[in-house]
Amino acid sequence: LAATEPSRSQREPSSGGVGAPAGEPGRPLPAALLYRRCDPADLPFEMVSELEEPSAPIGQDRAVDAVEFAVQIRHKGYNIYALGPSGTGKHSIIEDLLRRRAERAPTPPDWCYVNNFVDPAKPRNLRLPSGRASGLREAMRRLVGELRAALPAAFERDDYRARREVLDQQFRARSEQAFGELQRRGEQRGIAMLRTPMGLALAPRRDSKVLTPEMFEALPEAERERIQHELEEVQGELEAVMQKVPQWEREHREAVRALSRETTGAAIALMMNELRTGYRDLPDVALYLDAVERDIKENADDFLPPAQPREGLSSAPGFEDAITEARFRRYQVNVIVDNGEQRGAPVIYEDNPTHQTLVGRVEHIARFGTLVTDFTLLTPGALHRANGGYLVLDAQRLLTGYFGWASLKRALNAGEIRLESLEQLLSLASTVSLQPEPILLDVKVIMLGPPLLYYLLSTLDDDFKELFKIAADFDDRLERTPETTLIYARFIAAVVRRKKLLPVDRSAVARAIEHLSRVAGDADRLSTGLRGIVDLLQEADQVAAGSGKQMVTAAEVQGAIDAQFRRGDRVYRRLQEEIGRRTIRIESHGEAIGQVNGLSVISLGGLAFGHPSRITASIRLGRGEVVDIEREVELGGPLHSKGVLILSGFLGGRFGKTRPLSLNASLVFEQSYSGVEGDSASAAELFALLSALADSPINQSFAVTGSVDQHGRIQAIGGVNEKIEGFFDACHITGFTGQQGVLIPASNINHLMLRHDVVAAAAAERFRIFPIETVDHGLSLLTGLPAGEPDAEGNYPLGTLNHRIAARLDAFAAKAAELARSVAAAEARK
């Protein structure tokens, strides 16, 4: 398909600059220059359904190249900041680019956290090829289940019980032999061994009864001494035996443990070997399984049923289940990244980037009144999920998200994800928590944000420059050519398909293209605000559906545009209404000295509109100062003040070479109660000042916009369409005279994409747009008098405006000199 829409330079003769159209000097612009139409007949299709979708992002070659470059470099720091105005499609373009590249990239590995059997507070991580982590998790779950059946059975078998009985018997026999012999020797000497609440005691006996103190005292002294002596002897032996008991018990426990290890080892050997078979190629997993086996052998009791229910607790609901579950948690595998279903590298968009959502969380559960945690409660963050791929973040949300930016930088700098709670990070909690082994990080981060944020970060954050070396700069406009028009048509076709909109014909596309030029504020450019065009298409679809139409045409697109404006124009209509009621005083006919209609643009929400203001100037004897009243009351911004100061420069340059400028002038935006910024009113201010100086009236049918330099050249300004339409609407409300119009910088002609009613009024010569290139040019149009060119000596011809200004300045200078002399004489008389 070949697009055939002609450019403006092809349609209109150019009088200055390459491709820059211009009207004839002193003549209003023809209607053809006020709006660059997109003729549906020039579009090589009837319906967008005939078109293929665009193969590349629209008009973002620079940004796309940057992204393509960055994703190919795997070195540290080549992360991307995609900067551009909102609505330019950064997100969708980036995501589309990344997904296409990610599809061809290798799938990253799975990651798990497992128990560290040496130090449970420091969980270990395991890296497995994609899709194998969940297998390990299931294998471990099955292993525990099988062991819970197999180990009790192994410990119930006769061979174990017999060996255990032998062990117990051996140690019991050793104790009984030692104590029994001692007891027998004691009994032979009339001494009994008694169990006391805490231990053992020896007591002298008579007739199977322990001697009472009274009976003992009644014995002869020799007998008492004998008993005491013998008792002490046996007591010494008892003490010696008792000292051996702990050692015997230790030996018994160790023997039982060894038997338990041996029994467990035999019972689990087959299962562990089967499990290992599947992971022989993964040394870390094999080491983990070794640790699991050792732990099971050491803690085989955990797999056996409890010897007896715990008194008082056995009836608590869920208690036994909770105890059992807690015993076996350490053998679980916490798969934090499972790429089993992933094809290629992941592309993750995290819409709430905070510390926790980026690096993960250490969660806790309440267990019997306390909050506890372990490795199974480690939850992954976006960095884990994006590891081995791409992570897309919104810059503003990242910077305002709780510690998100700091944690991201930390991870990127370290090249690892350290999963820790925010309390730990900030040293706010003194409780012992987990310190999981960090996970190696290999991710490309793409931040999406406005240009201002990029420039601020580049200036103020050294880490940013190191970590985000690539800027993908998204443009907000592209050149309007037949080719780009067709690309947009294909984009519209894609939107229609994806959003399942009503069929769209070429007239609708043409109107949308014209609207994109208007949004770009340039007849030769198209806005890349893709979100805006998608919104417009959806709303046009709704307009069509609401009126029962089966197709979207130019009328529906226009309906949607009108509706968009109408939804936001309450303040604009109120201002226009007050102009009509003359509450806001705007003169749109007649003449006035030192007064001109200036134009400004007000932006409210998503709507920008033009608003006329009276700019007035007054002059008096003085020392050559031009006073900007807006600045004096701090309502004028620096650019506005700069524009006013330029006026002094212009006056000095043109008229101050041969005479002192013995005047002061005041400039003001009448009925302006809020701030004024920009220099687009400086030409209007100069015209008001020169009118006051020349004492020549300005035709109030005109409004003026444009900035001026010190040499009197008129320069381009922004918002030209809104400004013209603002004055047009004011004239409409105060009554058209057929003489009204707007003076604009000639260099703004290319930007004209005016409303159809304005263009129609211009075509009918009811409203006129004059391009001006110099102050003199504008002054002649506004006053109807020639400006006048200076002769070789710098004098202006009689009857010209400049001559009148020079004469007025001469008069001011003479008066000033006379006053100076009077003052000097008065001083002398004193």
């Binding site: 231990g199 005691a201 001697l211 103190p213 007591q235 008892l238 008792m242 015997w248 018994h252």
Partner: protein
């Protein structure tokens, strides 16, 4: 008609394993809807021993140390309080009416309870270390016990069987057989009654037993008792006994034999002289 049991009394002290006794006593009281009474005995022999000028005790924790009357009494109070709490907890579990008292006297069950009480006492002392237990002095003092005494060595378990060894047929035998049958019904255990070793009189013995236990819904069998102690022990093991019932006139109920039997068995013993 035998005298019915109207109360379960559990004998507690500072040196016996009391948990099996409390558990068994509470379960029986619950099954029979009887009150439970705990008696903590402060052993006067130990107090007497502590009064001797050279009294010492040896413990695993501190080795050789003095044994004073104050020391012993402090421990008695602590153990009595612990026993009271355990008894209260068991009563609460089974929703029992219960009472508790502390008495000072000899460590024997003869003075405990009344004529219609079943006395339950721990059969073992607490171990010194993991293995060694001094023989309970209760076992050597059962000769004077004139009422049913259940020596609890293990926690209550349902099922299995109860083995009653009755060498003669008298009122005491009839009474203890009646209690054994009630326990068998409560525990869902089979009851095996071993009578005279003489095969000729076994039928008559069986008829006597059947007559006594008529009306009890239980699995009952009678047999001739093994004459050899080893064979008798083997039979008890084969039957997976939860309780061995001894009538006081048998040789096995003699204190020394009883001590050996309790040491070898892994079940409780019901005794009545």
């Amino acid at each position: 008609m035998t005298q019915p049991v109207t109360r379960v009394v559990v004998s507690l002290d500072a040196v016996s394993e009391t948990a099996p006794a409390i558990d068994t006593a509470a379960r029986l009281a619950a099954h029979w809807h009887l009150p439970l009474h705990g008696v903590f005995v402060e052993d006067e022999e130990l107090i007497g021993l502590a009064g001797l000028p050279f009294a010492r005790q040896v413990t695993l924790a501190t080795g050789l140390g003095p044994l004073t009357k104050d020391h012993i009494e402090d421990h008695f109070r602590a153990f009595a309080e612990r026993s009271r709490r355990e008894l209260a907890a068991a009563a609460a579990r089974y929703d029992l009416q219960w009472s508790f008292e502390v008495v000072r006297g000899p460590l024997a069950t003869a003075a405990l309870g009344g004529e219609h009480d079943l006395v339950v006492a721990g059969a073992m002392t607490r171990p010194v270390g993991d293995h060694y237990r001094v023989a309970s002095r209760l076992l050597s003092r059962t000769a004077t016990t004139a009422r049913p005494l259940l020596l609890a060595k293990c926690r209550w378990e349902s099922g299995g069987s109860i083995f009653a060894l009755l060498r003669r047929r008298g009122p005491q035998s009839a009474r203890i057989l009646e209690i054994a049958a009630q326990i068998a019904v409560s525990a869902g255990s089979a009851l095996t009654v071993a009578g005279p070793s003489d095969p000729a009189s076994i039928d008559e013995f069986a008829a006597w037993v059947s007559g006594l236990l008529e009306g009890h819904s239980l699995s009952l069998q009678t047999e001739a008792a093994a004459s050899e102690p080893a064979a008798l022990l083997q039979r008890i093991i084969e039957l997976d006994c939860r309780l061995v019932v001894l009538e006081g006139s048998t040789d096995e109920a003699e204190p020394e034999e009883l001590r050996k039997l309790v040491g070898r068995l892994a079940c409780n013993v019901l005794l009545m002289r």
